[in-house]
Amino acid sequence: MNTTAPATASHRPPAFFADAIRLARKDLLIEFRTRSAFLAATVFAVLAVVIFRFTWDPTAIPAFDLAPGVLWVIFTFSGLLGLNRSFGLEQAERAYDGLLASQMSRESIFAGKVLANLVFVAGVQALTLPAVALFFDLQVGSAWGVLIGIVLCASLGLAAVGTLFAAIAANTRLAELLLPMMTLPFFVPLVIPAAQTSAVILRGQPLDDALPWFKLLLAFDLVFVTACLAVFPFTIEE
């Protein structure tokens, strides 16, 4: 009896990164064409910045104390809008079955979705970060690079956790309600160190002061990304 499937000369073997990038590119192309989730997330982010700005009393709370919280509340909730769509577009015509029946590994599918979600979130953040700096008159100075690095680090963890739960929620009738309920508790260990690290930078304190929080953020990133990658294949078994 054969132990392997017949070889096919005109096919390449599965490739983790190439497959993930291919899937992410497809998701981003669809988002670029429709712009529905991006517009919704951007409008939400800008509205939130404006509301926070006009309810803020600068004489009571300094900007650098309030801004990190504002930033991470906006990043968290605007990201959820993109996560909801991530598997929604696969479910509409059961395109997900086509993906699962392909030679692409489950891990590549997960990595591709995380990558697309990360780019989506980064796009919203690229608009939100300057808006918050402008409205709250933050003097970030030369620390922009560090701040962006922290934001991307935290976003990677948020995208990984969010993608896993979006995959689970996608098969339910209440996906849009379930996703935030399942995801937000798992976002907390990422958002707290991210907000604390951002606060140190916005206050203009030495970067060393942010190191413990940053290490915690990296640790949670590592744990969440690895765990989600390992668990994802089990979430798609019916």
């Binding site: 499937a5 005109s10 669809i30 015509e93 392909s102």
Partner: protein, 275 residues
């Protein structure tokens, strides 16, 4: 009543190392009967339960290369579940299924051998026809994805719509693109769940031609349909399922096969199940 069934169905006993995409498949040498061709799919005692209910109940089957199994049965008979088990999309609760000797759900290389067509188009409405089919080809690791895409779109007669976003196509055209998506990588096992849904006459003819070509090239087909004439026109084996099990198994290519008798048997079995 005579039916346009496949007489003297042939298949290659041993196929070359590379499987060409559907568009490049030609008529292969004749002389080897389907029964003599290597076994492509083998299932033994397959059970798939959802809760306490067995959607597929102790199904055993053996399909050779070039075989076309037509699965008939009422709604809820377990046809689609069996298809998903054979496609590696579901794990069996009990029993085993093998594709070319590899247990299902198999590794990535085995999934590449399967093409899946259902009444859901499995397409992305915002992408164009070409983008959809090319993406499917790339996901299946086809090296010449562009060329394979052009060939299969031509074969399904939708090449003139290649730059049209799928959301602007009629349901029938979407179904043709969906079929192109499933066949672009030259699958060896094609699983079809009500594939004729929404197809017009041109599309249905082009599709049937593509299936005949695949079959002649040694691909194995499993076709779920409610339309007896369509199903039997391609079938080398016709099965009626009820309550997750095979209750009737016939070879339409056999001498003396009578469509009217089969239809009557089908109706009586289906009505027995409902009653």
């Amino acid at each position: 009543m005579p039916i346009p069934h496949e007489t003297g169905a042939t298949a290659v006993a041993g196929h070359p190392s590379g499987y060409p995409p559907v568009a490049t498949l030609g008529v292969l040498p004749t002389g080897v009967t389907v029964e003599a061709a290597p076994v492509a799919v083998r299932a033994e005692g397959l059970v798939r339960a959802f809760g306490g209910r067995r959607a597929v109940n102790e199904v055993s089957l053996s399909l050779h290369e070039g075989d076309c199994l037509a699965l008939f049965g009422p709604n809820g008979a377990g046809k689609t579940t069996l298809l998903r088990l054979l496609g590696g999309l579901l794990k069996a609760t009990r029993g085993t299924a093998q594709l070319h000797g590899v247990p299902l759900p198999g590794p990535a290389e085995t999934r590449r051998l399967v093409g899946l067509i259902s009444h859901n188009s499995m397409l992305y409405p915002a992408l164009t026809v070409r983008e959809n089919v090319r993406f499917a080809a790339e996901c299946q690791g086809v090296l010449e994805a562009d060329q394979a895409t052009t060939q299969v779109l031509g074969r399904l007669r939708v090449l003139d719509r290649e730059q049209t976003p799928v959301r602007f196509l009629s349901r029938g055209l979407q179904q043709r693109v969906s079929i192109a998506r499933a066949l672009v990588h030259g699958p060896r096992l094609v699983l079809l769940d009500e594939p004729y849904t929404g197809l017009d006459e041109v599309g249905a003819l082009a599709f049937t031609d593509a299936l005949r070509e695949l079959k002649a090239g040694g691909a194995t087909l499993v076709l779920v349909t409610h339309n007896l004439v369509e199903g039997l026109s391609l079938a080398t084996r016709a099965v009626i399922m009820r309550d997750g099990a095979f209750v009737y198994d016939e070879r339409p290519s056999a001498v003396g096969f009578d469509l009217a008798a089969f239809q009557a048997r089908y109706r009586s079995l289906v009505h027995e199940g409902i009653a």
